[in-house]
């Protein structure tokens, strides 16, 4: 039952994200846009490029979707409304998100196209930049909750949400989350206007529709993880718990999408340099800071 509800919630979230993304990138608000675009993609031929690595080419879109859905499975929508309340929930999110990179590497190598391959390997470099900035802030979140269980992480934020308790970790995680779902300004693997779509360049028809759906679900998953880890998840006055989760998730997704409109795309080398020289010291400071708060205050 909660699995079905979670899938409906993910699809609804993906729809809103697609509408918001269209709004953020074109400046026009078109509520029917995602449905029309999806139908038109499904109606078109899905071309397979010449001499592909067929297994990778076919597996990449479903793997991208599966990793985003699996990561969402351990994030609670409301008390009791969670697909799998694992004892290692916060770690499992990282494990599932690691396969986003595997899917994009496959999508890059599979079609035997230059743009796609550059995009795929770019995302591998991007992972080297962001992955520590996902894991280390989550460590500090788990330290406060004294548990890796996502529901206990939410419960630990009843006095004060983590966004205020550990603002440095929140900022670092937000940037890293945008890099995971390759949103502008971190859209290096797709890079429209430079790589002509990159990892998505050779996909057409229903396969492209699945890639785009997976990307939208990924944005929802990351926004939801920020809501759970830093904004207190379902906690809030007046409204029912699920409404708070939905509102926080959509607000984070909207913020992530609209920031990209005003920031130029970063260079791969700059992203790596900034993440390692600025991001990791900040994340380490955050762990130290939370440790001091927990032990002393």
């Amino acid at each position: 039952m909660s699995a079905l509800l979670a899938i409906v919630a993910l699809l609804a979230g993906a729809y809103f994200v697609a509408v918001l993304e269209g709004w953020a990138s074109t400046g026009r608000f078109r509520p029917a846009g995602p449905v029309l675009a999806g139908l038109s993609l499904l109606g078109r031929e899905s071309v397979v490029p010449r001499r592909p690595d067929r297994i990778f080419f076919e597996v990449a879109p479903p793997l991208l979707l599966a990793s985003a859905v699996l990561a969402a499975a351990v994030l609670p929508l409301a008390p009791g409304l969670i697909v799998a309340d694992l004892a290692t929930g916060a770690l499992f999110v990282n494990a599932a998100l690691a396969y986003v990179m595997v899917a994009l590497l496959m999508a890059g190598w599979g079609p035997d196209g230059a743009y796609a391959m550059v995009g795929g390997f770019r995302f591998l470099g991007q992972l080297v930049a962001y992955s520590m900035l996902i894991v280390m802030p989550v460590t500090a979140v788990a330290m406060r909750a004294e548990s890796l269980t996502t529901t206990e992480v939410v419960a630990s934020q009843a006095p004060l949400p983590n966004a205020l308790y550990q603002p440095v970790g929140f900022a670092v995680f937000l940037v890293a989350a945008m890099a995971v779902c390759f949103l502008p300004p971190f859209d290096l693997p797709t890079a429209p206007g430079e790589l002509a779509g990159g990892v998505m360049a050779e996909y057409t028809g229903w396969r492209l529709a699945m890639m785009r759906l997976a990307r939208a679900v990924l944005v929802v998953t990351l926004a939801s993880s920020i809501a759970v880890f830093y904004l207190g998840g379902w906690l809030g006055p007046l409204l029912p718990p699920w409404a708070w989760t939905a509102a926080k998730t959509l607000a984070v997704a909207a913020a992530m999408l609209f920031v990209g409109r005003y920031v130029p795309r970063v260079r791969e080398a700059d992203l790596l340099a900034w993440c390692w020289k600025i991001g990791i010291p900040l994340a380490l400071f955050n762990i130290f800071f939370v440790g001091v708060l927990l032990l002393v205050v």
Binding site: A87, T88, L91, A98, S131
Partner: protein
């Protein structure tokens, strides 16, 4: 219990099959990702054996490690796509002998050793807690030594890779 055994056998066979695929293909990326899925299948075996933390950790770590290995294999091999019929295998007799011997030892150990009664499984939450205590108490020295060694190796390789600078050093000038 039966379901657990079935899952364990299934993912065990999957791990072996993907390990075979590693050597059947000539494409470096296929080879690396086949190794990834072999390791991920072992992670799923951990999950089937109710060791949740180890399973999730294995599945998470291997994705990154094997993908980074793929990029090195593509960089260093002259034929990363495996389109020119390059033969990657060598020392075949020694390899076959080592493989047969290794399998015999593993199967013999599994069948001949008296494993005793099956131990009870603590709750997943308790496993995470116990593992943390283990890492911070008895095994701390081992893990810290390993961590510092790896870090030293990373810094050293980076320092070597940067190369000399100045008017006569470096390739570009």
């Amino acid at each position: 219990m039966l379901l657990q055994t079935v899952f364990l056998a299934f993912f065990g066979l999957a791990a072996i099959w993907f390990a075979v695929v590693v050597f059947r293909t000539s494409s470096m990326v296929r080879s690396a990702l086949a190794l990834l899925f072999s390791q991920a299948a072992i992670g799923t075996m951990f999950l089937a054996m109710q060791t949740e933390f180890l399973g999730v950790l294995q599945i998470m770590m291997m994705a990154t490690e094997m993908a980074i290995m793929a990029i090195f294999m593509v960089m260093y091999m002259m034929d990363p796509g495996g389109l020119s019929g390059m033969d990657m295998t060598h020392q075949k007799r020694v390899s076959i002998a080592a493989g047969v011997l290794g399998t015999a030892v593993a199967v013999g150990t599994a069948l001949l050793v008296d494993w005793g009664p099956i131990a009870g499984v603590p709750r997943p939450g308790a496993q995470v807690h116990d593992l943390g205590i283990e890492l911070m108490e008895r095994s701390m020295l081992i893990f810290e030594t390993a961590g510092v060694t790896i870090l030293t190796a990373m810094v050293a390789t980076t320092a070597i890779a940067i190369g000399p600078r100045g008017p006569r050093g470096g390739v570009d000038d």
